[in-house]
């Protein structure tokens, strides 16, 4: 029997758990109510998309990669399209780039509203959860009107976008934004003034700027710790060169700051979408891609709602990519959860986890193997892994 008093008591949570809708396994060692050690096991949603992409054609991958994540699907398809366009040496016309950014910003609005609801739910504030999800339906309607689908929009084509923006649609987007802006002002008031809610957010999960830089935090999580990292500003892509954004920064680094940064980003998105609608460049919606994608490598970095998305695409001149690598923001931010949870009460941990806006289907680019007897991890060298593969197939054929 293990000595629980010396090691503390371990609370396993997940992969099916009430807090999040996604599978992830956590173990928190607690001393009374205080967390002394945190551990996360990933890979429940690992499907092997990177490998699958090598077996599908350039066009098929557009639809596969959109399903890396259902919340930020447009960003993944956009990153892949930009990478393929970079390989092919073409650039989508300005009108297509502007429509891409328009959809990306609408997606940011829907994602931030979704996050606000889910993390309010973690705090036991279900009223805010229900209200923010009710208002989120407005932006879902706008996305559906624009693209024809509520979740996986399929707005991108290799070399452009699928649809044009009609004047009537622009008007309905403007009306929708007016409503959302008024509601967002109310939510900013709620999260920064509601005394009950502030007890759950103020001073909880504080990450200093130095910590954020060491742990490699990205996106709104980093910006709430005053790390000025936003690829829309630092390395503008698509139409962000013509439509610049202002970064929302906060120096407090706690959960309250993360709420405020995301809500301030919403206002910035509203402004940007209005500006795009006013100054939408005329012209074509797409360019023709060469029949064969030339050999080469392309790297694309984009700012998803949760932070930096990194795509590496390698072509050997064939009809499908030779290698594709995806890195998503959640994996960068999860380190901070494991570190920040230590020293906090167990009850605060769901809030700290929700504070980074985790997305496990995005980040499960790997699977962790455990030996059944000991429950411990095992690492294999490339040589061992290769031999294991050879033996495996030899056994299967025998």
């Amino acid at each position: 029997m293990t000595d629980n008093t010396a090691q503390g008591f371990t609370v396993p949570i997940g992969p099916q758990h009430p807090a999040l809708k996604e599978p992830g396994h956590f173990q928190f060692t607690v001393d009374g109510e205080i967390v002394t050690r945190a551990y996360v096991r990933l890979g429940y949603a690992h499907r092997g998309i990177e490998k699958a992409a090598e077996a599908r054609s350039w066009t098929q991958n557009l639809y596969l990669l959109e399903r890396v994540c259902g919340i930020c699907s447009h960003i993944h398809a956009l990153a892949y399209s930009l990478a393929v366009e970079q390989l092919a040496g073409v650039e989508a016309p300005p009108r297509a780039q502007a429509i891409r950014v328009l959809v990306a910003e609408l997606e940011r609005i829907h994602s931030h509203f979704l996050w606000m609801g889910v993390s309010a739910h973690e705090a036991g504030f279900d009223t805010l959860f229900m209200y923010s999800w009710r208002d989120r339906e407005t932006v879902m309607d706008l996305l559906e009107g624009l693209t024809g689908n509520r979740v996986n929009y399929s707005a991108n084509l290799l070399g452009g976008v699928k649809f044009d923006l009609q004047a009537a649609q622009a008007d309905s987007i403007r009306r929708g934004l007016d409503f959302l802006e008024q509601r967002t002002r109310h939510y900013l008031d709620v999260v920064s003034n509601d005394a009950m809610f502030l007890q759950r957010t103020r001073g909880i999960g504080v990450m200093t700027r130095a910590q954020a830089e060491v742990m490699g935090a990205v996106g709104p999580t980093a910006r709430a710790s005053n790390v000025g990292r936003d690829l829309r500003v630092e390395a503008p892509y698509a139409a962000y060169r013509d439509f610049p954004v202002r970064m929302a920064l906060d120096e407090r680094g706690d959960l309250e700051a993360r709420f405020e940064v995301r809500i301030r980003e919403l206002f910035e998105s509203f402004r940007l979408i209005r500006q795009i609608l006013d100054d939408l460049p005329p012209g074509e919606l797409g360019v023709r891609l060469p029949r064969r994608i030339p050999a080469g490598e392309a790297v694309v970095r984009l700012e998803a709602p949760r932070g930096e998305v990194y795509y590496f695409v390698k072509s050997n001149g064939g009809d499908r990519p030779e290698r594709l690598k995806v890195r998503t923001p959640t994996i960068c931010n999860l380190t901070s959860v494991v570190r920040l949870a230590v020293g906090h009460q167990l009850a605060d941990v769901p809030m700290i986890l929700a504070g980074i806006d985790p997305c496990f289907s995005c980040n499960d680019r790997l699977v962790q193997l455990y030996q059944e007897e000991t429950g411990e991890g095992r690492s294999m060298s490339w040589k061992d892994l290769r031999q294991y593969g050879i033996d495996f197939y030899a056994r299967r054929q025998a």
């Binding site: 599978p23 949603a45 092997g48 994540c69 989120r136 979740v151």
Partner: protein, 161 residues
């Protein structure tokens, strides 16, 4: 031996079916989904669509739930947990597969870590197709499932299962 059910058993069965149909509590498990279906399930439970008006409540524990909503293709790592969660639920229980991936594996068919759809692992009572299904489709699927349960209750199968 008297094989005809007595009146009390009839009444009790009717009451149980009535109670079950009016409060089907659901449990949601993501077995490797892209989140698209999950956020649509959540949208179904929130004010615009409000599935709670049919008595449907999202539960946190498998032991409190009657219906298991599964989203996503079944990955190797999530399979054992899915089976365990199903085993923890009390009879009578139903499984609903939501979304193209849960039906057949969807776009992830043939991936090395994907075993296939939910039906390859568990018996499925209702299928809701779509990528992702709209909230209206989820409501429609749940209503159809409840109709099926009502018919099953009338035939007296709900208890035996």
């Amino acid at each position: 031996m008297n094989t005809t059910p007595n009146v009390w058993q009839e009444v009790m069965r009717g009451m149980k079916t009535w109670a079950r149909l009016n409060s089907p509590w659901v449990l949601h498990f993501n077995t490797g989904s892209c989140n698209g279906c999950d956020i649509e399930i959540l949208a179904t439970l929130t004010p615009r669509y409000d599935l709670e008006r049919l008595g449907v409540r999202l539960q946190a524990s498998p032991r409190h739930a009657d219906i298991l909503l599964c989203t996503g293709a079944v990955t190797r790592q999530a399979r054992d947990r899915l089976v365990r969660i199903y085993a923890q639920m009390h009879e009578p229980k139903c499984v609903v597969a939501i979304g193209s991936c849960a039906l057949s594996g969807g776009v992830f068919q043939g991936c090395y870590n994907v075993l296939g759809g939910i039906e390859d692992v568990l018996p499925v009572d209702a299928y809701i197709p779509g990528c992702p299904p709209r909230p209206e489709a989820v409501i429609d699927g749940v209503v159809k499932l409840l109709d099926g349960l009502r018919a099953r209750g009338r035939q007296g199968k709900a208890d035996s299962q």
